[in-house]
């Protein structure tokens, strides 16, 4: 593949981050009725009623979210490739980031899947609907560690990048923010025990704050990733063409 096409794919992949973010909030959050999400303290009958009442939206939200969640994959793939450039011969952190990102997609997918199954036959025994809803939430809230590793790997690789101090992939503060956001998921482990309060799966500490951190990290990281691709595109265009003639941009224009 020529470098121009490669850079174009890189830019598209970097933009998949914000695209994932937008579709995730819209379909998983708003249309799927997860802002606010159902309380774990809700009785089975009330929970079943919630499904019946918003059946169309919940089905649409989760079924579409299950497709758009894969936008996270090209984004992670690009980050991984960019990290491998930084790491050189042994891209351990780049691989870790890729695995973490890929499994994040699976964790999010499976949670949606359980809710989609719950919404498939809303007339079934409410206890089963509750079981599926519980499973979905605990799948997504107890398995955050894949995402934590993904984020920490990225932060460590960029922090340790001493070759490109003049043009780092991200500033140091973003790396520290990334580590912080990654660690902010830890309280979500308490969702396995608590049904009310800030540490329940609809609480501030286990839901709103860590999810907000994750999405904020997506925005900040995407901003710098896109900036980096654009910088390299400019460099490519102003670099001399293969035959040593005029820069590519002028060569193309003439």
């Amino acid at each position: 593949m020529d470098q121009k096409s490669s850079l174009r794919f890189q830019l598209i992949s970097a933009w998949c981050g914000p695209a994932f973010l937008f579709t995730f909030v819209l379909f998983w959050g708003v249309i799927g009725r997860n802002i606010p999400n159902p309380s774990p303290a809700l009785s089975a009958a009330d929970l079943a009623a919630r499904y019946s009442q918003h059946l169309g939206e919940i089905r649409l939200g989760f079924i579409v979210a299950l497709i758009t969640v894969v936008l996270y994959m090209p984004w992670c793939s690009y980050i991984s490739a960019r990290m491998a450039k930084i790491e050189g011969g042994y891209p351990v952190l780049a691989n870790l980031q890729l695995i973490g990102g890929a499994l994040t997609v699976m964790v999010v997918s499976f949670s949606c899947c359980f809710w989609a199954v719950a919404a498939f036959r809303p007339e079934r025994d409410p206890a089963l609907i509750q079981l599926l809803t519980d499973t979905g939430w605990l799948v997504i809230d107890l398995q955050y560690a894949c995402t934590t590793l993904q984020m920490v790997a990225l932060a460590l690789a960029v922090l340790a990048d001493r070759k490109n101090k003049a043009t780092p992939l991200m500033p140091n503060w973003v790396c520290y923010l990334t580590i912080f956001c990654a660690v902010s998921f830890f309280p979500a482990s308490l969702t396995g025990v608590l049904k009310t309060g800030p540490f329940a799966w609809n609480g501030v500490m286990s839901y709103y704050f860590p999810y907000f951190c994750w999405l904020c990290w997506e925005i900040v990281a995407s901003t710098y990733l896109i900036k980096d691709v654009r910088r390299r595109m400019r460099e490519f265009e102003s670099s001399p063409s293969v035959d040593g003639g005029a820069p590519r941009a002028t060569a193309l224009a003439t």
Partner: protein
């Protein structure tokens, strides 16, 4: 040696005051403080909603444990500050001792919390007992997690002091460690009155 460098830095025109540590540590600490502020805020909201429950259960806590924990952490912070001073004076052996002191204080805090938790659990009180104890266990637990992380940092600093791998004029790693350790101390200073003392 010291005055010589001071003269040098003045002649180059560098500012004499600088941010200790790296900016990233401050970002991390500020963000973490925000998390604790959120937790303290939600504690206050819940407390406001059921004041009787919170007041009654507060008496089940032993303030002596909290008080001893406070003293332990303050001493530990003092050790960390002394260690940093020693590193700045290139007295690495002394710094190692102070770091060791801070580490032992951290360890004592963990043991004390372990005993406190065991007493509560043996009395049949746990995370799910009621709202007050949910906050008690989660807030002190998350703080304890920070103490454990701090002790890991102290071990790293101890080895750094032993290998003398830092610039005494700008011991960034030691500064970062001390900032974090003071932050853990500060959080406890708020947590202790909030859970044990506030009427």
């Amino acid at each position: 040696m010291r005055s010589q460098t001071d003269i040098q830095s003045v002649s180059v025109g560098e500012p004499t005051r600088r941010l200790p540590g790296v900016e990233g540590v401050w970002v991390f600490v500020a963000a973490d403080m925000m998390v604790f502020a959120l937790m303290f805020g939600s504690f206050m909201v819940s407390r406001h909603q059921s004041p009787a429950l919170f007041e009654a259960n507060r008496h089940a806590l032993n303030p002596n444990f909290g008080g001893v924990n406070t003293l332990i952490l303050l001493t530990s912070s003092w050790f960390a500050a002394l260690a940093l001073e020693s590193v700045r004076k290139s007295r690495f052996v002394l710094a190692q001792r102070f770091i060791g002191g801070a580490f032992l204080c951290g360890l004592a805090f963990m043991v004390s919390k372990g005993i406190e938790y065991t007493v509560k659990l043996n009395a049949g009180i746990s995370l799910t007992t009621n709202e007050f104890f949910m906050y008690y266990f989660t807030l002190t637990g998350i703080h304890l997690f920070h103490v454990v992380a701090g002790n890991v940092v102290l071990v790293v600093l101890w080895f750094r002091a032993r290998s003398r791998s830092c610039d005494p004029e700008r011991p960034v790693v030691f500064e970062c460690g001390a900032i974090y350790w003071h932050f853990v101390d500060l959080i406890w200073m708020i947590l202790f009155p909030l859970l044990y003392l506030m009427r």
